[in-house]
Amino acid sequence: MNHNLLEICYLIGSVTFILGLKMMGNAKTAKKGNLIGAIGMTIAILGTILLFEGQVSSLIYALIFGGIAVGTVIGWTTAKKVQMTKMPELVSMFNGMGGACAALISLIELNHHYHTVSAESSSYGTMIAIVAGLIIGTVSFSGSIIAYLKLNGTMNKPVRLPSYNILNTVVMIAVLGFGAYFVYDGGNMTLAYLLFLAAAVYGILFTIPIGGADMPVVISLLNSFTGLAAAFGGFLYDNKVMLTGGILVGSAGTLLTLIMCKAMNRPLSNVIFGAFGGGASAAGEGAEVKGSIKDIQVSDLAVQMNYARKVVIVPGYGLAVAQAQHTIHELEMLLEERGVEVKYAIHPVAGRMPGHMNVLLAEANVSYDKLVEMDDINPEFEQTDVVLIIGANDVVNPAAKSDPSSPIYGMPILEVDKAKSVVVNKRSMNAGYAGIDNLLFYDPKCSMFFGDAKKALTSLVAELKTM
């Protein structure tokens, strides 16, 4: 009776996951979709505890409820407190926790297996599910931690060990071989811990050479890994809600990863194995840089913007780092008051995650319909008087269109060079994440407005107010 009731709980859970994800694909229903998913999850969790058939000691109940309480409090408060700019790394952290959870389940299962069951009673299928959950969960865990450290700036340079591609491939094959041997041999607890360690090392090696700009793709990929690990757990326990949830995220996450790669016009293999940062800067130096750059004073810029008819703002990660989203909104309102038409041009990979800029600007109350996606804004640049680029670089680099030797060649860009005048706010002349020079800065139409985005914009707003 209880068992059948539990199956119904799991069915409800599975349906809410699918429905929730579907509704999250539309801005109007997204919030409700997320809530529906959360309700389904609660039903599945409560059902698992309350409808369990068997003798359970009160100690175990205490540990389960204690664990849920601890996890809820920490999860809730971190998620509530985090600044919106820090969200990408938080998602990465939560993803790592899920991966670790899957890996721990496998370790417990193995421990249980060696203590109580005679080795031959476990089928290969069970063993494969346990070992796969262990490997994938662990890779996702250690990889996510590295991604987290990279995004919060603790580890801001891609680390490349000598011939890391070969090294990584060798380690990957070694881990897989180890796993296969483990399944075949039956293994023991010491080997299980070794396998855990080896998978953790692979997760680190896998993520560590990849640059900050590619982290969204990596997080999305690791996200689908954790989904897969959860699905193996579902296979192990014949648990349908884990299977649906896991596979849904596994396949949706993979697709999302591919969509992101497509937006950057780079195949996934290029993100993982390609030397975007290191090798790219070498290639970038090949492009000849002609002309010189020129500075613009804040007073001149204020005049230019005040008398413009149409201004397009191109936000990038620099805006997020400087926390300048409120200042940019102030600038936008000030200009609108004076009859200037202001729009934001959003490149699909601006920031550290697709949609990162939208979330950030929405936080500052920028109206949703002022944010224009790349394909819609590109034809408008010809009628634009001033383009103000804030902390974006690679997404406006004309080399993506004109220089086949450039590592970003073929990536669709915002065609800002069609506008009458372009102003770039940057902290310094340092290259963007791709590590390549930007020919736009040498364009006669382009001038540089150096400084931290927040300070620079604050001075611009102050200047405009005096006019």
Partner: protein, 101 residues
Amino acid sequence: MNELLDFFGTNREMIYFIVLSIFVGVEVIGGVPTVLHTPLMSGANAIHGVVVVGAIYVMLSVDPTDYLALGLGFLAVVLGTLNVVGGFVVTDRMLDMFKKK
């Protein structure tokens, strides 16, 4: 080879289930506007927190004198819950920002 075929035979329903779920996942994500990719990734992140169900299930069947298993299980429940609660809450916060004024 025979073992493999046997495996397919005994797990036929499960394999169907998996294959169909993959298609559902792809269908559900298809055609989502770029602006929603970050919340969607975050929401998907919360959903794979369903792995906590596995952690709870393991805990329920663990031998209460096996302290290693109890310790690891407790940790798994904490981490899994973190994934679920943190994931849903942060997604909710992100989506709050898309509200029309």
